[in-house]
C-alpha cells in the first residue's frame, strides 16, 4: 500500500492516528518496532542525556525516559524528554503514579506534549521501599488505569478531569505496562483488557526470560482479541551474569527469571556474552509469536550492547530506524555516535563467528 503521507513529516497527525509521532507510525505500518530504555543520568549536564541516547542511533524507533524507576531519584522523565525532542528523537515519556498527584501529572502531560512528546507510558510505579529514599511519601493519587483514563479524556474530549476545557488538546499515543510473569496469572490478560478499555493503545511488558509463560499469556490475549486492539511490545534485556540475575530476582520487584536461565549463565565461559545471546534468542522467538508487535530492550547499564543485540537478532529485517544528524557544536553526540559505530563494526565482524546467526 502506498504511503498516503510523507513518513518523515512529523508536523501533523495522520488519519486514523492519535499522535504525530514516529512510534505510532511504525507500529501502524505493521513494522516490528524496537524501543529501548535510556539510563537516566544523575547529573544536570544535558550532554549526558545525548550521549546515552546516541548509543541507540539507527537501531530503535523510540527511547523510553524512565520516571524514577525502582523508586530511585534521577533526572526527571519530563526533563529527559525535553532534551531528546530538541534533537528529534521519539521519546516515550514514562509517568509513574508514585510521586505526583493528579494536578501535577495533568500539567506535565500538557507540558510534554507542547515539547513534542508523542508517546506516554502510564505506570503504577515501584513502591518507595524499593529505592534509595524509602522515607519518601508514596502518593499514588492515580493508579495506572485512572491515569490512562484521565489522559485519554484530555486528548479525546479536550478537557481536564475537572471538566475545564483545554484549548489545544495533547496529541498522544498512550501506552501502559504489562507483567505476564506475576501472579495472579489468570487475571493478567483480563487486566490488559481493562487497560485497553481505559485507553492503552500500546503496551510494553516486564522483562521476558520465560518464553513459554509468555506464550500461555499471549494465547489467552489472542482468544480475547486484545492483540487486535493494542500493540504489544515484549520487554527483553541482557543479563550481565548469573550473580546479577540472582540479585535481580530477589531484589527487583516483579521480575521472573527461571532457574534454567541462571544455570545456563553459570555454565557459560563468558557470562555477559551468554546473557546477550539469551536476549537475542528471546527476541527471535517473540518475533515469531502471533500478536507481538515489537520488543522493548532494557539493557540497564549495558546500553552500549543494544545496537549489537538488535543487529544480531535481525528483528528489524534490514530496516534502519531514524537517526539524528549531530549539530556542529555537539561534540559529545558526535563522539558517542562514533563510539557506537566502532561497537557495531566490532559486532559485525564478530557476527561471522557467532553460532547464533544465520
Amino acid at each position: 500500500m502506498p504511503e498516503a503521507f510523507d513518513p518523515e513529516d512529523f508536523s501533523f497527525v495522520p488519519e486514523g492516528h492519535s499522535s504525530a509521532g514516529r512510534l505510532e507510525r511504525v507500529l501502524r505500518r505493521g513494522e516490528f518496532a524496537v524501543t529501548a530504555e535510556l539510563n537516566p543520568p544523575d547529573s544536570a549536564d544535558p550532554n549526558k542525556v545525548y550521549e546515552r541516547g546516541a548509543v541507540f542511533d539507527g537501531w530503535v524507533d523510540a527511547i523510553n525516559a524512565t520516571d524514577g524507576s525502582g523508586a530511585n531519584c534521577h533526572m526527571s522523565s519530563v526533563g529527559i524528554c525535553a532534551l531528546l525532542t530538541r534533537v528529534g528523537y521519539a521519546p516515550v515519556m514514562q509517568i509513574s503514579c508514585r510521586d505526583r498527584n493528579r494536578i501535577a501529572i495533568q500539567g506535565d502531560v500538557l507540558g510534554a506534549a507542547a515539547m513534542g512528546v508523542a508517546n506516554i507510558l502510564c505506570l503504577t510505579g515501584d513502591g518507595v521501599q524499593a529505592g534509595d529514599q524509602p522515607g519518601a511519601k508514596a502518593v499514588f493519587d492515580f493508579d495506572c488505569m485512572s491515569l490512562l483514563a484521565a489522559i485519554a479524556t484530555m486528548r479525546d474530549e479536550g478537557r481536564f478531569m475537572s471538566g475545564r476545557p483545554i484549548t489545544e488538546p495533547p496529541r498522544l499515543f498512550l501506552g501502559a505496562a504489562i507483567n505476564p510473569f506475576a501472579p495472579p496469572h489468570d487475571f493478567r490478560p483480563l487486566r490488559l483488557k481493562k487497560k485497553i478499555e481505559a485507553g492503552a493503545q500500546f503496551v510494553q511488558s516486564q522483562y521476558c526470560f520465560d518464553v513459554a509463560m509468555l506464550e500461555t499469556y499471549m494465547a489467552r490475549v489472542r482468544d480475547l482479541g486484545l492483540d487486535e486492539r493494542c500493540f504489544i511490545l515484549v520487554g527483553v534485556g541482557p543479563l550481565a551474569s548469573a550473580r546479577a540475575a540472582r540479585w535481580i530476582r530477589t531484589n527487583v520487584p516483579g521480575i521472573h527469571i527461571p532457574d534454567a536461565i541462571i544455570e545456563r549463565l553459570e555454565g557459560a565461559r563468558d557470562q555477559s556474552r551468554e546473557g546477550a545471546n539469551i536476549c537475542i534468542e528471546t527476541m527471535q522467538q517473540v518475533k515469531e509469536m502471533p500478536g507481538v508487535s515489537g520488543v522493548h530492550v532494557m539493557a540497564y547499564r549495558q546500553e552500549e550492547l543494544v545496537a549489537e543485540i538488535v543487529a544480531k537478532s535481525g528483528v528489524l529485517k534490514g530496516r534502519r530506524p531514524w537517526k539524528p544528524e549531530p549539530r556542529p557544536g555537539d561534540a559529545a553526540v558526535i563522539e558517542a555516535a562514533a563510539e557506537t559505530q566502532r561497537i557495531l563494526e566490532r559486532a559485525q565482524s564478530a557476527q561471522t563467528h557467532s553460532p547464533h546467526t544465520g
Partner: protein
C-alpha cells in the same frame, strides 16, 4: 468464636512489617482474610443490607442525610473496620473487588494488582502480606457478580475520605430509582 481461635484456625499468619506506612494488626488481617474466603456469603448479605438501607431512604431524607451521617458513620466504621480492615475512603467498591478492600494495598490501587506481586502471591511493598489483589481475584471468583472486578474504577475522590459510603450509595440508588420513574 473467639478471635484467638479464629487466628489459630487461619492458615495465614501475618506479622506487620515494621517499615510499612500502613500499620496493620495481625488480628485485623486474619478477619480480613476470613471475609475474602466468605466473599459469596458477604456479597449476599451486602445486597440485602443495601436493600434495607434503601427502604430507610425516606426516613433518612426526612431527618436529613447530614444529621444521620454521624451515627451511621460510627456503625459503618466499626463494622467494616472489623470485617475488611476498612480505610474509610468513602467510596466503597468492596462488591467489585472480591470483598478485599483495595485501600489496604500499599499503593492503594483500585484496578487490579501491580506488576510487583511476588511469585508466592505476596505484596511487593510488604513481603509478609498476601497481595490484596490476589485475594480480591480469589474472592471475586467465588462471587455471583464477581466479574464486576473487570470494571475500570475511576480515581478516588480524596475529598470524600472519612464520609459514609453506605449513605452515599443509598442516596445515589434512591436518586437513580427516582429518575427512572419508580417509587422510592
Amino acid at each position: 468464636m473467639s478471635f484467638k481461635r479464629l487466628r489459630k484456625k487461619s492458615s495465614l499468619t501475618y506479622r506487620p512489617a515494621g517499615t510499612s506506612p500502613v500499620r496493620r494488626g495481625s488480628l485485623r488481617f486474619t478477619v480480613r482474610a476470613w471475609s475474602v474466603r466468605h466473599a459469596r456469603a458477604l456479597e449476599w448479605l451486602y445486597r440485602r443490607f443495601a436493600g434495607v438501607l434503601l427502604k430507610l431512604h425516606g426516613l433518612f431524607a426526612r431527618i436529613g442525610y447530614q444529621r444521620v451521617e454521624r451515627p451511621v458513620l460510627a456503625v459503618e466504621k466499626r463494622v467494616k473496620g472489623v470485617l475488611f480492615d476498612c480505610r474509610m475512603c468513602g467510596q466503597c467498591v468492596l462488591s467489585d473487588t472480591g470483598m478485599s478492600c483495595p485501600m489496604n494495598c500499599p499503593k492503594s490501587l483500585r484496578n487490579g494488582p501491580c506488576g510487583g506481586v511476588r511469585a508466592n502471591g505476596h505484596c511487593e511493598v510488604e513481603p509478609d502480606m498476601p497481595c490484596v489483589w490476589v485475594e480480591a481475584w480469589k474472592g471475586s471468583r467465588a462471587m455471583r457478580d464477581g466479574d464486576a472486578i473487570l470494571r475500570v474504577q475511576p480515581a478516588l475522590d480524596q475529598s470524600l475520605r472519612g464520609s459514609s459510603a453506605w449513605l452515599r450509595a443509598t442516596a445515589m440508588s434512591a436518586a437513580a430509582k427516582a429518575s427512572s420513574g419508580g417509587p422510592v
